[in-house]
Every structure is written in structure tokens, then in C-alpha cells.
Symmetry: C2
Subunit: 341 residues, 2 copies
């Protein structure tokens, strides 16, 4: 075993209270395990950092089981197979799924991972965003839940974020007037100049409701919601009859486990016969192929811009994750643990 | 004109603040108008009193336009045609729709009324509930939105109310475990003994969340919501993944126009990928015939109990409407203005 490669892992040591602190995780080193019958060893190249990490690290009621204290922190990641006794996987294959905050991990046919086929014009990092769960989530939320019609008005919160930016661009492709809400003037400019949104609102410097009122003269038909709280209430002030709200995230509530007041305009659900649907992209595996094909095609056609924000090095992971909550990142946040093969 | 019949009408005189007060309406008398070309005169027999009356009397944002100050108060009602120049309507025909708080009203082909065919075993008063908008609302909410599966657990709030009692019975017919929430022990007994619900909770004497926890050992799959506020939060504590919530009413919020905190467990929308859908029965006219046929058939088969609470006399209307908010009524609340023809 002594000439097996070294493998580091971040284990959950305590539950965060507020923002994640590096002390919530303990770094442990071991030798990479040798794959047994039916197993493959994966070296992780990119770890995806996503707002849902904050949910998994908590003990709150959630859509999967929480990560237990002592367990390796769960995360979406992409890696390369280095050794394999698993039929269908050979060294050099790229896999993607729930691999965790670690250098090496064993997988087998029951593991929540999929093999990634490289697509021309689509970089490997895009598999963590555009054609990964991020893109699938945006696609399912917009196409299957919001069902936008040309000419309708769509609002997207965290519109410069990984999911939001894809959702907003799908809205444009579907022929909607798209208004994005984000947290800096630079992000607003990116939304307007690069993503060609119809309007962008900086929630840190503008009154969101007043700005929405100005930018949505025909009211709001669909909302791709990633934030909740005051931003959701601002949209609720302007919804049209039969508006639809896809709840993809409620990031304003993740750093607390206290009861958070729900939208104060909840009565709009009745007054405007709203549809509100919570969802995660992983709910609909039967939609993955269509979503990935459509997103890759739009990207290849130059209709789907895409940004990654790469932090480097294993040690950076528990620090970098907070960028998601402070907004100090620019695009899909990933940490590179090793060079691309 | 002097030998035309006398017609009384309650006009909205001021917006209610809290409960409706009789002073919010002004009684005016006139002579019944003579129908012109294409018009028919209807004598109103039964006025339906519904929680939505409180919404219509307010200036708040709502699903129809508010009733203007000075206008005859809007309401669902049933009447008999006394004179007619309208093709398709003849004296003696029964009509049902938005006729208002008045003795006589002119209708034409654009009026929001429909002709009622009497069904054997279904009394005329049932047209104001079971086979009227009330029953249609329950049917659409349960069948089209909640889509209950046999063995699932359904919670119905205001389960002894006009809409709730029908929704709860449809849930039983669909094979669900149905738990009703209501406001008195007598109503609980009626839910258990007559409607054969699986459990009933008196929200005035029990902790609703604790009681739901006891009565829903497999969690909650569907909620037919008429109340909102604390009762909705209690259900949200126990929802299963992919639970559905049909928001038919939010009666806990109708007597105030202040912002009401939304459900404090709104994050469950995401954590359990909930569907929340606000609706009104009138949204889907294409569903009326199926709903009315099914409800009448269930009633004729003895599977759909139905109660009416009749108050007598035109003057009673603006007093009786508050029974809906104090819960001091027993079944579908109607006011009889004249004997059945």
C-alpha cells in the first residue's frame, strides 16, 4: 500500500452556524484505495461548489439526507478513472457526479456518477455547469416548469450565477423579455452586454420592486427563483394571472436554521392563481439527454455564454465555498485539484 | 312602471375594515326593470354567501375586479326567469351565476349566468353548492391539481365547510387517507360519522401540527388549503417529497389588508419539491360538465353528503355573511329571498 498515491479528504467536523467556516471541516490524508471487484478508482480533477453544499452540511430538513458528522463532504465533481475493475469504465474515462471533497474515490455501478462524453467546442469545465446538473437544472426549470411563451416577461434572480445565467439565456432563446437580478454593476453589465438580457437590476443598490415595476411594464409571467425572501416578494408584487414560479433555490435562507418568514405576498398565489414549484435538476433523469444536447448545441451556435470561476488547490475548498454567499465569484465556481488529463 | 314588482338591492357603501358590518351596505329599493330586446328578468331565490365576498368588497389586489363603491354587491345566486326576451330562456327557467345581492336583475347572453337543469335526487339548493361553483371548485382542486393516488394522505382545511367537505369526500372516493381540520367538536363528529374521514382536528382546541403528526404517520401528500397562515404551516411541517398543495382559499387573511407573513416553512417548497397552485373553480369552464356530472352521481349513489345552512330574508344578507368567518354555520351558507318556484 505504501506506494499508493496520497489522497486528501475534507470531512465534515461540525455543522456550520451562519457561513461555512474552514473549521467545520477536518482534513484527513490516507493512501488511495485499490479498486476491488466491480470498482474503479477516480482521481478528482474539478470539485463543483454550489449553494446546496450549505444545505447538505446542515442538519435541517432537506431534499437528500444531510452529510453526517465525520463523513467526507458531499459534492458534485468531475474526475478521471485511473484504475478500473468496473465493466464500462476504463482508465482515462471522465466521470461526473457526487464524488465529494477528496482527491481519490472508489466508484461502482451503484454510485451516483455518469460517464462524460466530450463534445466538440464544449470544454471539460462546462460539464460542471452548462451540460452538467447546473444546466440541466436551468433547462428543466425553464422548459418543464415555467413553460415560457414568446413575448412573456421572465424574472431571474441570481441571474449572473451558474444556474441563473443559463436560465436567463434559455428565456431569451424562448422569446421572452428577460429581467435579471444580480449583486453588482459589473454583473449587470455582463447580463446586458454579453447575455443580452432586456434589463438588469443590482439588488444591492436599487429597490428591486421599483426597478421591476419599471422594467416589467406588462407585469411578470414567469420567475426563475434562486433567492427567496425580499426578492421573491418583489416579483410577487407584479405577477400576472397564471404566472409560474420555479423555485430552484432560496439562498437567502440557507445560512440560518431559524424559521424564516415566508413571502409576505403569499396571498398572490390565490389572487393570481399562481403556480409555485420547487424542484432540483436531478429529479428528472429522463430529461438529462435532451437538456444536455440542447445546451451544448446552443453553446456551439454561440447563443449560450458561459463563465467559470476557478480556484486552485484542494486546501481552497472550504474557503472558496463562501464566495457563493458573498457573491464574490464570477460564473460557475469550481476548484481545480489536478490538471486536466 | 308603477305596477312593476318592488326590487331591493344591497349596494356597497364603504369598504369593510375587518369583519363586514351591515353599515358597509346601503339598501335601495326600486321597481324591477322591464326586459329589453335580448334580455330576461330574473327573480333571485337563493343568494350564496362565500368567503370570496369579503375579497370582492375590498380594494385589495384580487382575481376579479373589486366591487365599486355604489355598485350592487356581487354574489353567486340562483333565480327564476320571470319575463324573457332572451332566446333560450323562458319564464320558469332556473339560472345560476353572478346575480348579486338583489331581488330582481336583468340578464342577457353576455351575463355570467348559466341555465340549470334539475337533476333527480338533487335539490335546487344543491346547485349553489354541490353541483355549483362550490362543487366544481372542490372537484378541479382535487382531481386536476392534487391528483391524489390511492393510499396517499390528504389534509383538508375548513373540512366541514362548503368546498372543504366536498373536497374531503372526493379524497375518500379516490382512496386517500383524509384528515380534516375544522373549528368545533360537533363539526369533527360530522366529519368522522357522516363523511367517514379518517381523522378530524378541532383547530380551536388542539395543536394542529401535533395532531397532524399523530394522524398522518406516513406524512402528507396533498393539501386542500382554504385557510393559510398557521394551518398551512402545520401541514408544511409534515409534507412528503413531491407533495401538492391546492390553494383554494386563504380565509385567515381576508379580514385584513395588512401584509400577512407568508408560511414560515416556505423553504419546504424547495426541500420537498412541492407544487403549490392557487386556483378558482371558474378558471376552467371546460371542466364544469364533467365535475357536475360526477358530483351529482356520487350524491345520488349516497357517497357525497351535503349540508346547507339557510338564513331567511333579504335583510339578513349583510349580517349572515360573517357566519363564514366566525364558523357559526353548518354547511353551505345561503340566504333565501323567495320560495322555490
Amino acid at each position: 500500500m505504501s506506494n499508493r498515491p496520497l489522497s486528501r479528504a475534507w470531512h465534515l467536523a461540525s455543522r456550520p452556524d451562519g457561513l461555512i467556516r474552514p473549521e467545520n471541516f477536518a482534513l484527513r490524508e490516507s493512501r488511495a484505495p485499490t479498486p476491488g471487484e466491480g470498482q474503479a478508482l477516480v482521481r478528482i480533477i474539478y470539485v463543483s461548489l454550489d449553494p446546496t453544499d450549505r444545505i447538505w452540511a446542515s442538519a435541517r430538513e432537506q431534499y437528500m439526507t444531510p452529510v453526517d458528522i465525520g463523513e467526507v463532504m458531499r459534492s458534485v465533481a468531475l474526475g478521471v478513472v485511473t484504475e478500473s475493475n468496473q465493466p464500462g469504465l476504463k482508465p482515462g474515462d471522465i466521470v461526473y457526479g457526487l464524488l465529494g471533497w477528496q482527491d481519490y474515490v472508489l466508484v461502482d455501478k451503484r454510485s451516483p456518477v455518469m460517464k462524460v462524453e466530450r463534445r466538440p467546442g464544449v470544454p471539460l469545465t462546462a460539464q460542471l455547469g452548462l451540460t452538467g446538473f447546473i444546466g440541466i437544472t436551468a433547462y428543466v426549470g425553464v422548459i418543464d416548469i415555467l413553460k415560457p411563451k414568446p413575448g412573456e416577461t421572465m424574472v431571474v434572480t441570481t441571474a449572473a450565477g451558474a444556474v441563473g445565467s443559463i436560465a436567463a439565456q434559455i428565456g431569451k432563446i424562448m422569446g421572452c423579455r428577460v429581467v435579471g437580478v444580480t449583486g453588482s454593476d459589473a454583473k449587470c453589465r455582463w447580463l446586458l452586454d454579453e447575455l443580452q438580457l432586456d434589463a438588469a437590476i443590482n439588488y444591492k443598490t436599487e429597490n428591486v420592486e421599483a426597478a421591476l415595476r419599471r422594467h416589467c411594464p406588462k407585469g411578470i409571467d414567469t420567475v426563475f427563483e434562486n433567492v427567496g425572501g425580499a426578492q421573491l416578494d418583489a416579483s410577487l408584487a407584479l405577477v400576472n394571472h397564471f404566472a409560474r414560479i420555479a423555485v430552484c433555490g432560496l439562498i437567502s435562507t440557507y445560512n440560518t436554521e431559524a424559521a424564516v418568514p415566508g413571502p409576505s405576498r403569499f396571498t398572490q398565489v390565490l389572487m393570481h392563481r399562481l403556480l409555485i414549484k420547487g424542484f432540483i435538476g436531478g429529479d428528472h433523469p429522463e430529461r438529462f439527454a435532451e437538456a444536455q444536447d440542447a445546451l451544448a448545441k446552443w453553446h456551439q451556435e454561440g447563443r449560450m455564454a458561459y463563465r467559470v470561476h476557478i480556484e486552485d488547490g484542494f486546501e481552497a475548498i472550504p474557503h472558496a465555498v463562501n464566495l457563493l454567499f458573498t457573491g464574490q465569484h464570477d460564473g460557475k465556481l469550481i476548484v481545480r485539484l489536478a490538471p486536466e488529463p
